[in-house]
Structures are given as C-alpha cells and as structure tokens.
Symmetry: C2
Subunit: 233 residues, 2 copies
C-alpha cells in the first residue's frame, strides 16, 4: 500500500491529466513510473520507461498513419521523430507539471532535466498500459491525439522552427534524393567556451551558415538558414 499522502498526490496528478477514465488504474505502477532511478529506492521507472517508449511510438505511428493518409513515409518519420523526442515529451510533462510528483535523488542536475521528464512521461504511459491492457491504445488515442494533431499542424505551418535539421533533410531528400552535408569551417574561443562555425552544403553550394557553442547548435542554425533560403527558390 502506498502512503496516504503519496496516494493523494498521485490522484490529484492523474485527475489533472484529462484521461478518458481513471478506471482500472493500478496505483503501484503509477507510483513506480514517477520514481527516477536517482532516488535509489527499491523500485524505479527504468523498466516502465522501456515499455512506455514502445507504447508511445506505436501510438504516434498509428495516429500519423491514419490522420495523414497521403503523407510519404519520409514525412511521417520526421513528424514521428518530433512527437517522440525528449524535448517534446518533456514539454508535455511540463504542461501537466509532472515534476511535482516525480521522486528524484538529491544530486540530479539541471542539464538532465528534459531527459528525466521525458523518461518519466514514457514510464507514465507504460504504467497506464499495464493498468488498461487491451483498452490502452484507444484510451491513449482519445487522450493524446488532440495534442499530436495540434503539434503536427504547427510543424506543417513552420517545419523549420522545431527541428531545422530534420526539416532540411526531408526537403533535400524529397527534391533531389540527397542529404545535406555539414562542414565545420571554424573553431574559436577558449577551450571551456568554444565557438563553432558550420556551413551546410547541398549539391556543391553553401546554402546556410551558423555559429554556436557546439557543433550541433551551429548545425541547427545553419540548417534553419538553408531551409529558409530554399523556401524562396
């Protein structure tokens, strides 16, 4: 049995989620989903995250397949990458203030926060799957499809805003069947605060350039510039 205080806290949390039903919820799974391994308790959410990750991927895939019957697999893959990314899952977790019910250890770092929230969100879906059995997917669709739909609509309006590298890749693949090439062209600044300059090349031409504190950050900026330049073509 869970302590009364934890049970109250969890009940308040799941009530706020807007699930289609609370019937069948198994509190010990829900509790476990919201215990990060850093807490070093007897149970944690790592196995539930393993399960929930696959449930989520199936759910998102199902949704995209049915909602966008004429979209290419390449396009669907770009959207799926977004809807299953740590960043997106962390944003859903934040929307419901999952952090207030997440048990963590005393030494967790701020850098790992998005990953921690995303993992707990996946574990939450895993705990619902164990509670609901065969009714899981329809119930999760009822609950989460509206969020997925709104997000895909945003991506359709402005694909480059969310994941410029994926948007650029999708564009070059569909137009020319090739991938953009990123080249690091400069590195400056002290070792603890380096600045990287990156160019993105497509078919022998530089289409965009970016500077950032990591190669990845610079690539993202370069991709955004290139994507915008190609839109004008």
């Amino acid at each position: 049995m869970l302590p009364q205080q934890r049970r109250t806290q969890l009940l308040e949390f799941v009530t706020s989620l807007g699930l289609p039903t609370l019937a069948g919820l198994q509190w010990h799974w829900l509790d476990q989903a919201l215990i990060h391994p850093s807490a070093h308790l007897d149970v944690d959410n790592d196995r539930l995250e393993f399960l929930g990750d696959a449930v989520l991927r199936h759910l998102v895939t199902d949704f995209l397949f049915a909602a966008y019957p004429t979209a290419s697999p390449g396009q669907l893959t770009v959207w799926r990458s977004h809807l299953t990314s740590d960043r997106y899952l962390a944003s859903l977790a934040e929307r419901f203030d999952l952090e207030r019910v997440l048990v963590v250890g005393p030494t967790v770092d701020a850098l790992g926060r998005p990953r921690r929230l995303a993992d707990a969100w996946e574990a939450l879906l895993g705990s619902l799957a164990l509670s609901w059995g065969e009714a899981t997917l329809p119930r999760l669709h009822h609950w989460l499809d509206p969020y997925f739909r709104a997000t895909v609509e945003e991506l359709q309006r402005d694909p480059a805003a969310h994941n410029p590298k994926a948007a650029l890749q999708e564009l070059t693949q569909s137009r020319w069947g090739i991938l953009p090439e990123y080249r690091v062209v400069s590195q400056s600044g002290p070792a603890n605060a380096p600045q990287f300059g990156v160019q993105v090349w497509i078919q022998g031409q530089c289409w965009g350039e970016g500077v950032g504190s990591s190669k990845k950050a610079a690539e993202v900026l370069a991709a955004k510039a290139a994507w915008e330049a190609l839109q004008d073509q």
Copy 2:
C-alpha cells in the same frame, strides 16, 4: 478486387502462417504489404512498413517486459534489438517462404534481400493491424510469442553466437559500466578485397582480435573472442 490468382496465392500464404484467425483480414492491405517499391506499381509497402515496424516493436517490448520480470532494461534492450533486427525478421520471413508472394521489380539485387524481406515482414504486421484493430496485439502475441520465446532462450544459452558486439557491450556495461573499444590495427590486401585487423580493448587490455573483409566483420570476430575470453574469468 484482386485478381483471382493473386487472391489464391495470398490465401495459401496466410493459411501457412498459423495465425490464430483469418477473420477480418483485409485482402487489399495484405496484397499491398507484399509489394516492394521496386515493382513501381500504384501501391507499395512503404507506409505499411512504417506502421508495422512500430507494431512489432510494441509487441516485442510487451512480450519481453512480461516474460522476463527481473531482467534489466539493458538486457531487455539487447534482446529487443535482436528480435527487431533485419536479420531476425528476414529469418522469420524465410521460414514462411514470404518471398514467393512478394512482388518485386526486375532489378532488385541480392545484397538488399534481407532488408527487403524484413521490410515486407513488418508491412505484413502493419496490414494485420489495419485488419484487426484493437484485437491486433493479443492475436499477434498468440501467434509470435512462441517464436520470440524460443529465440530468447537460444540467446540466453549463447548470447555471443547471434550478436557478439551487443553481447560484449552488455557484459562490459553490467560488469564495469563501460563500453568496449574497437581499434583497427591493420589493413592489407588489394583495394577491391581489403582485409582489416581489429582489436577490442577493455580497461586498458586487449581481449580479442579479428580479421575480416570489412571493419564490421572483423569487429564481430574480435567481440566474439573477447566475450568468450571474459566468460572464462
């Protein structure tokens, strides 16, 4: 409507699969799952593969989670990688002689065969999911869990036989929390038939060595040697 000949062929094929039921099967989805893009017909299996890939991953994850309640997520991940690998899916497709009903173009190459069979196998699962709706996962579990179970039992008996690199990684991670390091130590032979020598180093010591016609092949042999050497520890 499918031509009578194709329908007869597909009926024979699905009958041979040992599905728990043929009720509800939608023949046009089944037909589409078994059309490779190389055939350049009006429809092909690329979207169904996108769907089936996620169904399969969910199915395998569900199975592993329930069947091995004390296994670590790391161990589950190694098994899942195997049960969702092109090589394993192609072996299932071969067991049921899927190739005889797969429509391909005239120019497909032998090298792409495992990938082609694996993709069609995933698309087949996608077509069953569209036919069966909510009943999909229980029916697929009934059909495929026995194969998954037998395969995991084999992997437990001899983890290194199937995927030596994954087995070695699992071992070094669980024992020391580190990854093995592969080093190319030699390259010889003519350009069209090179031979690579690779060593695998763990904690400052070389534990295995392999020679092969690609770096990957040499790494696999080195990993197998290292895994066996570490078993004797």
